[in-house]
């Protein structure tokens, strides 16, 4: 009898984890929290989440988790130890999140920048980085003197590709002679390789460096070489006070807090959220003083227009790289097309990687 009672209490407790006083939230990161970029951005949000809820939330992190078996093991361990919600903060965790979510239907999964959603306990969330890239492209197009912009890209996934296209289109709009040189590193975090890539780009004439990789090495190299650069995911100004023009800064905290609150209220359900300037999920790091006041105003105006929904960075006419039309005049790209983008727009000379 006693055993039965215990079992009943236990199952009741397991069935309604959201009612427990303390909500356990786990985070898995692809890089170290000290990368000063992408992972640091997520961890900043985690700390804000912790501060917001105080004792009502218990957060835990595991950093440097590789995609695949490693990620599955870590998330399984989290789920087994009573975690109520798991944030998987990288694109490549998709298959692992779905595998673990299937086995733990009572745990809420939040997958950043993913696209696979096989179970109804997985929410996907992403930021419209291409909105920020449009602003960077605009500034870069006006600031470059060599008309050559270097771009350090990680993997050819839609988020990165749409970022390159957005930056290019907006640089081109203000500077028809602009030329992009692109290096793929096939890594999110490799400071030495990113430093080499930045040096190579500068050597080949680039005077503005953009990056879609997570370390601060490129900003550092740009500072040493006396050229300009944009940070990534976090404000990287301290690594290059002169070089650092601005950065797209990720602010996941409002979203994290709303999701944990929903879980506590029992209203959490699977969603697919794609947020940008309007929701305050991305913002720009303070402009460097070397950006002329006039250009700063233009950039602020661009941000305001995007946030208000008056302007979409992918507004036609836009052709694909091979010259075939993609968007007609005035046509706006839909989210589906952006989330699966796998081609360069017309004008980019580099070939698209397979």
């Amino acid at each position: 009898m006693k055993k039965l009672l215990t079992a009943a209490v236990l199952s009741a407790a397991l069935a309604t984890p959201a009612l427990a006083d303390t909500t356990k939230v786990g985070f898995i990161y692809i890089g170290p929290v000290g990368d000063f970029g992408w992972t640091a951005g997520h961890d900043r949000a985690r700390q804000e989440l912790q501060d917001h809820f105080g004792d009502a939330v218990e957060t835990s992190i595991v950093e440097n988790v590789d995609y695949g078996a490693d990620a599955e093991r870590v998330m399984t361990q989290m789920a087994l130890s009573g975690t109520d919600m798991i944030f998987a903060a990288s694109f490549g965790y998709g298959p692992d999140v779905n595998a673990v979510a299937g086995r733990f239907p009572d745990v809420a999964f939040q997958h950043a920048t993913g696209y696979i959603q096989e179970h109804d306990n997985i929410s996907l969330f992403d930021a419209r980085f291409y909105e920020g890239r449009a602003v960077l492209g605009h500034i870069a197009g006006k600031m470059t003197e060599t008309n050559t912009i270097g771009y350090i890209a990680s993997y050819p996934i839609p988020a990165v590709v749409s970022g390159i296209n957005s930056a290019y289109l907006h640089a081109k709009a203000v500077n028809p002679d602009v030329n992009f040189r692109i290096i793929w590193t096939y890594s999110w975090f490799d400071p030495a390789l990113e430093a080499d890539a930045a040096e190579t780009l500068i050597e080949q004439g680039a005077d503005v460096i953009m990056q879609h990789t997570d370390s601060t090495a490129a900003v550092r190299v740009a500072e040493d070489a006396g050229v300009m650069a944009f940070g990534q995911a976090s404000d990287m100004v301290e690594f290059g006070p002169n070089a650092h023009l601005s950065a797209i800064v990720d602010r996941w905290a409002p979203y994290y807090i709303s999701r944990v609150q929903a879980l506590k209220d029992g209203t959490w359900e699977a969603q697919n959220s794609w947020m940008g300037f309007a929701e305050g999920i991305i913002e720009m790091a303070p402009w460097n003083d070397r950006i002329p006041a006039e250009l700063q105003e233009e950039a602020d105006g661009l941000i305001a227009a995007i946030a208000a929904g008056e302007y979409h960075p992918f507004t036609g006419p836009i052709n694909r790289q091979d010259g075939t039309p993609w968007l007609a005049d005035g046509e706006v790209a839909d989210d589906g097309a952006l989330a699966t983008m796998d081609f360069f727009v017309e004008g980019i000379t580099a070939e698209f990687p397979n």
Binding site: G31, R181, A192, A195, T200, A206, A217, E351
Partner: protein, 309 residues
């Protein structure tokens, strides 16, 4: 011509810089393995050197003292490995892996307050008129002193192993530790010294990354360089000059692919970036399966030694 934007002299110069950290670590590990010890903790000792070297350089304002600190940091970690494998007779493979994990974790903690700081500059060596020679000047004579010292170190290790008495003893210990013991050589002492040398070299390699190549401290910044150094040793069949050729080849592949990409040439980057790791895996499989003998591996590599046996 699209390749016109690539300057071969700059390419060669960048290649030497890219190769230096892995070459330093590889030459140290080569000596360790020649003494019959397989230390898989190169990555851990490198990151330790990167972190300690950075901290020392920032606090003293001198990159040279920083490099000394890095070597000591590497040695400190390698002594832990020596204690485990030589005194406590633990498994070398497992201890080496543990050393890497330990190094990565410890440095994340030690380096916490040093993220975002700029290290003192390491000056380029002024070689006067040499660096004004067309092409060769830019390619070969515009580097910091560490690049040249590394090449000198390769030569010194080659000479040491081939011609010096101490080097022959070290090789004897590595080829057949029972015979070396019977001849009265101190197997463990030789091995501990070799392990320390390996630690110092790996530490220097790490510091080259954090003080010169990147230059900044970031957690986990070696990202696999130690594993590439390990593979390089086998790739070079335990011969110093071949290790240098391998390191330059590897550095060349990295630098060339970056240049080709920037110039807009379509190359299969994904395979190129994968290749060092594929070779590393293959090589580690070969060593641990015991087939290494045919590759000129030291006879007692990865075998425990106790004077009683």
């Amino acid at each position: 011509m699209i390749l016109g934007s690539i300057n071969p002299a700059v390419l060669l110069a960048a290649l030497m810089v890219a190769a230096t950290p892995i070459l330093l670590a590889a030459i140290g590990e080569l000596v360790v393995e020649k003494a019959g010890v397989l230390n898989l903790g190169v990555e851990g000792m490198m990151i330790m050197g990167a972190c300690v070297g950075f901290i020392v350089a920032v606090n003293t304002g001198s990159p040279i003292i920083g490099f000394f600190g890095a070597a000591l940091g590497g040695v400190a970690l390698s002594l832990l490995f020596a204690l485990l494998t030589q005194a406590l007779m633990t498994n070398q493979v497992a201890s080496g892996l543990a050393l890497t994990l330990f190094g990565l974790g410890l440095t994340a903690l030690l380096g916490q307050r040093y993220v975002g700081i700029t290290p003192p500059r390491t000056p380029k060596l002024d070689l006067g008129p040499l660096s004004d020679i067309p092409f060769l000047g830019r390619a070969l004579f515009t580097h910091d002193i560490v690049v040249y010292l590394t090449i000198a170190l390769v030569g010194a290790v080659w000479w040491f192993l081939k011609y010096s008495r101490a080097g022959m003893i070290l090789r004897a210990v590595g080829e057949n530790h029972d015979a070396a013991h019977a001849l009265g050589y101190h197997v463990k002492r030789v091995r501990v010294l070799a392990i320390m040398f390996g630690g110092a070299c790996a530490g220097l390699g790490g510091a080259y990354l954090s003080l010169i190549r990147v230059p900044q401290w970031t957690e986990g910044m070696t990202v696999g360089a130690g594993w590439i150094a390990l593979a390089l040793v086998v790739f070079a069949s335990w011969r110093p000059w071949r290790a240098m050729a391998g390191a330059y080849l590897f550095g060349g592949v990295v630098v060339l692919q970056l240049n080709l990409q920037a110039a807009g040439v379509r190359i299969p980057v994904e395979y190129l970036s994968m290749s060092p790791y594929l070779i590393t895996i293959l090589v580690l499989v070969i060593i641990s399966s015991g087939k290494g003998r045919s590759l000129n591996a030291p006879g007692s590599l990865n075998k425990p030694f106790h004077a009683s046996s």
